[in-house]
Amino acid sequence: MARVRFTANLERHVAAPTAEVAGETVCAALETVFQANPLLRGYVVDERGALRKHMLIFINGEQIADREKLSDKVGPTDEIFVLQALSGG
């Protein structure tokens, strides 16, 4: 089971607890999380399922390559970290 962690900044808007999920890709792993927590989906991906522009996903510290379809492979002991890029305002 891969572990999915979310930036703590999300907690101000929506519950985003760490989850242990199955899934061979980032997309599949996140889909499992979103099915249990539907409100979280729109905060991470847009209506096309693509990663939001100012969001980042790392697998074991390496940024994913496919931000559109989230097809990067995930192993059973991997850690997926969903966080936000920094910006001002």
């Binding site: 409100l39 729109g42 905060y43 209506e47 096309r48 305002g89």
Partner: protein, 368 residues
């Protein structure tokens, strides 16, 4: 008469109430969150707040108890983009069909409870039939081939900022587009026509200046008692129609400037309208550093310049298109600026009192 004002800002929503001591801020909502639009629906009392979380996207929250509690509801979602369908921005860069910002929220006709209209960037018009819980795109407008002739003005993408529902007939709706002119349906959205004949775009090559589908009305408002009378504060001037947008007439003189973003029309008198001018397109500041409101009582033939209670020395407040509002009596007006100042009048603009000069940048203001 409305004793409540909602001020939507870059850092939250401020609820303002008129009590014995005058107007004051009584509550904050979504403090620190960017509020792109707000609706207080007079038919049901429903409140809708459109937030723009930046990193986390645009979100909508609804309250059925006057803002005591809020629930997150659905946001407008664009249809899947067909394979091979490519749309490009002003710089030739492809863009995807996805929600960027909620830019207009208006109640449907009184005979259509639960209907709410929503304009968005990029260029979307949506309708909810369940008080904002879910939204459906008006695909007859989205799929209209002329829609691809729209372009961004200020924003990178075209956007629908104005929705005017005819009080006589809820099937008759006008929308304002930056930059895409004014569009009208008379059959509840089944068919649409561009109605910007007479508008002039000084920013286009001369041969395209009068093309309806590239006009940039910053905001379009409709007189509720005389819906065929509408006003548009356009990118390079003020335009008025008295025939339901079939033809528009340009107003070339209006006090210190015809440039600006906001306009309000009296609810019963179509000739009475207010504007908050800025110097010009390239210098978006009040003329001579003096904040003024201009008012016409004769359909744009003449204008008064109203400044009683407004700063007249080194004031650089710019007023966005949704940041001027009028109440249902037509006596009370309120406007707010990008520098966080907010002024209220109870006598049609003859005099103004300052609510605050320290709010965050103000994006939208509504009575109700």
């Amino acid at each position: 008469m409305s004793d409540r004002i909602w001020v939507g800002t870059k850092k939250g929503i401020f609820e303002v109430e008129r009590g014995a001591g005058g107007w004051r801020i009584v509550k904050t909502h979504f403090l620190a969150d960017d509020t792109s639009m707000f609706l207080s629906d007079p038919r049901s009392g429903t409140l809708l707040a459109a937030l723009d979380h930046g990193h986390f996207g645009a979100k909508m929250h609804r309250s059925g108890d006057g803002g005591k509690t809020w629930q997150e509801v659905g946001v407008p979602e664009y249809p899947p983009q067909p394979d091979g369908e490519v749309e490009k921005d002003n710089w030739g860069k492809p863009w995807a069909w996805k929600l960027i910002r909620v830019w207009a929220l208006e109640p449907g006709h009184k005979s259509q409870p639960g209907v709410i209209w929503c304009g968005t960037l990029p260029g979307g018009l949506f309708r909810s039939r369940d008080n904002g819980a879910t939204w459906q795109i008006i695909d007859t407008l989205w799929n209209n081939p002329m829609r691809k002739g729209w372009f961004g003005g200020g924003a990178d993408y075209p956007g629908i900022h104005s929705v005017c529902v005819d009080p006589r007939d809820g099937r008759h709706v006008h929308v304002g587009v930056s930059c895409g002119g004014v569009w009208a349906t008379e059959d509840d959205g089944q068919t649409w026509n561009c109605r910007a004949d007479g508008m002039r775009a000084a920013y286009m090559p001369p041969e395209k200046a009068y093309e309806p589908n590239i006009q940039d009305p910053h905001i379009v408002v409709q007189c509720p008692a005389r819906p065929e009378a509408m006003w548009a504060q356009h990118h390079n001037g003020i335009f008025r129609t008295t025939d339901g947008a079939k033809s528009w007439q340009e107003i070339k003189e209006a006090g210190p400037s015809v440039f600006g973003f906001a306009v309000a029309v009296h609810p019963r008198n179509p000739d009475l309208a207010w504007f908050v001018p800025a110097q010009k397109d390239e210098k978006r500041i009040p003329v001579d550093g003096k904040v003024v409101v201009t008012r016409t009582r004769d359909g744009g033939k003449t204008f008064e310049v109203l400044r009683n209670g407004l700063p007249q020395d080194h004031a650089y407040d710019l007023v966005y298109r949704h940041a001027l509002a009028i109440d249902e009596t037509g006596d009370r007006l309120v406007f707010g600026s990008t520098t966080g100042s907010c002024w209220i009048s109870e006598n049609q603009g003859d005099s103004w009192s300052c609510l605050s000069t320290h709010l965050p940048p103000i994006r939208c203001i509504k009575f109700g």
